[in-house]
């Protein structure tokens, strides 16, 4: 295997909830106590994205998918761990040094209604990044570039003078994609780019992303909670639960032979057209909050296979025979 384009090592991210020192002090049981609270959004994630692939990250709401994406893009700084791009550590760069990577790495967002600046025309939206990153380009070059990306995402160049709110969700998402492509990136993080769209539009956008990947040789980190999309789109899949990766495998392998109990439950929960009745694996309880993380395996509270070890010890990702990486004691012990 070639060296990864992007690698995430031991990534952790906490959001502090307790505020200033003063606000941390509480009065409990007759004495003052300092209480610190934090959301443990990511707790040690290792991922590698290879050139040309589409690595999908799935998981329930709040499991830290977006946080991973935003940390990779430098919108958040990690509490611990490192992020490397093409062998170069990028999570601790100054703004000026990080500019080249801003061009190579782009992001597409979930909400097409919020991701376009409502006060800018499409023309301005697309022009600004090009001018910013290529201050030396002539106006003609800029215009040509804009035309090029507009064509490649299938939007009419006549739209240029209009504003984002004049377009439908699918069209906006195209514009957003065009903006990302305008700086000729190599790597694109897409954070649930289709979940706000209708089924018939989803297909359009997915097709567009696949086309772009093919024609420009893009690499994706694709975040979604729609497993059907993953099955269709992903090269590899990482399943996250409460800020940890619990399973990582080739798409086909994962869908045909899910190993982690959580993955199994997740797959069974997708309503399928063929079904007449829901038949899914029932999990107990609900997702715990990332504020008070459970000890041991974060999934043990809901896992039908959990035992004492699961309550104590944090499982590490292990590679199984099928090539799947799983973080589960039950799999490790062969109970599953």
């Amino acid at each position: 295997m070639t060296s990864p384009l992007v690698s995430i090592r031991g990534l952790e991210k906490r959001f502090d909830l307790s505020g200033s020192l003063l606000e941390q002090i509480t009065f409990e049981g007759g004495r003052f106590r300092r209480k610190q609270e934090a959301v443990h959004a990511i707790n040690g994630v290792d991922l590698e994205v290879h050139k040309g692939e589409a690595l999908c990250v799935v998981g329930e709401s709040g499991c830290g998918k977006s946080t991973v994406a935003r940390t990779v893009m430098g919108l958040l700084s990690p509490s611990a761990g490192e992020i490397h791009y093409d062998g170069q550590r990028i999570d601790n760069l100054e703004r000026k040094d990080s500019l080249p990577y801003r061009r190579k790495m782009q992001m597409i967002f979930q909400n097409p209604y919020a991701s376009l600046n409502p006060r800018m025309t499409i023309q301005q939206t697309l022009e600004e990044p090009i001018r910013f990153h290529h201050p030396d380009w002539s106006p003609v070059q800029v215009r040509d570039k804009i035309h090029e990306v507009m064509h490649s995402v299938g939007i009419d160049p006549d739209w240029g003078s209009r504003f984002g709110h004049e377009f439908s969700g699918g069209q906006r998402q195209r514009i957003a994609i065009a903006r990302a492509l305008a700086v000729d990136p190599e790597f694109i993080v897409a954070d649930e780019p289709i979940s706000a769209l209708d089924v018939s539009i989803q297909a359009q956008v997915l097709n567009l992303l696949m086309d772009a990947q093919e024609s420009r040789g893009l690499t994706y980190l694709f975040i979604t909670h729609d497993l059907a999309v993953v099955e269709h789109f992903g090269t590899r899949v990482a399943v996250m639960y409460l800020g940890r990766v619990c399973e990582l495998a080739d798409t086909k392998t994962l869908f045909s032979a899910p190993r982690h109990p959580y993955t199994q439950a997740l797959l069974s929960a997708i309503p399928k057209l063929e079904d007449d009745r829901p038949n899914h694996i029932r999990l107990k309880g609900e997702v715990p909050t990332p504020v008070n993380l459970p000890s041991g395996c974060v999934f043990h509270g809901r896992c039908p296979y959990a035992n004492e070890r699961c309550r104590q010890e944090v499982p590490q990702l292990i590679t199984t025979d099928g090539g799947t990486q799983v973080a589960c004691h039950a799999v490790d012990e062969g109970r599953l």
Binding site: H232, A265, I270, L273, P278, E286
Partner: protein, 332 residues
């Protein structure tokens, strides 16, 4: 006679520059204990249809025509007082976002008990007992505690359970659920749908389920309606439509699902997007996106034709059936 029968319902929104027609000539019926699915893209008019049944459309909207017959009585023509006796009592609703549906400043108990007391002349204590019973029914952990909690103290899944419990409080005949699980995660969604399905079956309650997830419709409902731009374009038994959709839009919708294509392949896509109500094309509203569209489609909205158990509004389908008929006639 069907329990609920909607006939030629027109709903409009009075906005600047004239009225927008959100629903045009909607007709369908719901039998006792039947589970009906309502699918369509965002903005197709699903929620408007649901709210208009209880005459709860938000302000600039109004029912411009048609009837909503509940046990033969027209809800659209009923006074607010009479309607109040039906709302929550005979027909209950479940809203999309459990976060927004419960009043943040009142306890769960208050919100449950007031619903009972609005319709039954019983003591608060008895009402509380009923509330507790329903909470148990929806399998909420430690139900007694919940009564005195505020909505923000519960998780999303629990809140939606509470809302289902409120829907069940007065043993209604119909539950209208408007996308009850879109705000929830897949695993929770599965559980909630499971619960709703079981309860409806147990209590023999009719369910009108609004969703845009075809998978859920296929799992839960017996019949389904497909809406496009304020019209029902296809309706019939769920299985039949899923397996063999007639209308080009329904076909497209199903084929566009990622699971229908081969991994890595381009997906089937319907070009364009649903028109906004402000500029609905004449004739069949789907014609600009339809590859079968003919001049005829631009002229007038097609009538419903029957194909098997399915009613479809499409000239193409009508022509096919016509052809088939002619062929059959020719053969015989």
């Amino acid at each position: 006679m069907a329990l609920l029968e909607v006939k030629d319902l027109d709903v409009r929104f009075a906005v600047r520059g004239g009225d927008l027609t959100a629903l045009r000539g909607i007709s369908f019926s719901l039998d006792k204990g039947e589970r009906l699915g309502l699918v369509g893209e965002s903005g197709a008019g699903k929620s408007v249809a649901a709210f208009s049944i209880l005459n709860l459309i938000a302000k600039p909207g109004y029912i411009a025509g048609g009837q909503i017959l509940f046990e033969g009585k027209d809800l659209a023509a009923m006074s607010e007082r009479e309607l109040r006796k039906i709302r929550g009592n005979r027909i209950a609703m479940i809203f999309q976002d459990p976060m927004m549906t419960l009043n943040p400043v009142l306890t769960i108990g208050t919100q449950m008990v007031e619903a009972i007391l609005a319709h039954r002349k019983i003591s608060k204590k008895e009402a509380r007992a009923i509330a507790l019973d329903r909470l148990q029914k929806v399998q909420i952990p430690s139900p007694e505690k919940r009564l005195d909690q505020y909505p923000h103290e519960l998780s999303g899944g629990m809140r939606q359970r509470v809302i289902i419990a409120i829907a069940l409080l007065l043993d209604p005949e119909i539950i209208i659920a408007d996308e009850p699980t879109t705000a929830l995660d897949v695993t929770i969604q599965a559980e909630i749908m499971d619960l709703l399905l079981n309860l409806c079956e147990q209590e023999n309650v009719a369910l009108m389920l609004i969703t845009h997830d075809l998978g859920v419709v296929s799992q839960v409902t017996q019949r389904m309606l497909v809406m496009y731009s304020g019209r029902i374009i296809e309706q019939g038994p769920t299985r039949e439509i899923i397996n063999d959709a007639q209308h080009p839009y329904t076909q497209g919708l199903i084929n566009a699902l990622p699971q229908m294509g081969e991994p890595g392949e381009r997906l089937f896509q319907i070009p364009g997007s649903m028109p906004s109500l402000k500029n609905v094309p004449t004739g069949c509203p789907f014609h600009p996106r339809c590859k079968f569209a003919t001049e005829q489609c631009k002229q007038a909205m097609p009538e419903y034709v029957r194909s098997g158990n399915v009613n479809v509004a499409c000239y193409e389908v009508a022509n096919l059936i016509e052809q088939e008929k002619r062929m059959q006639e020719a053969e015989s």
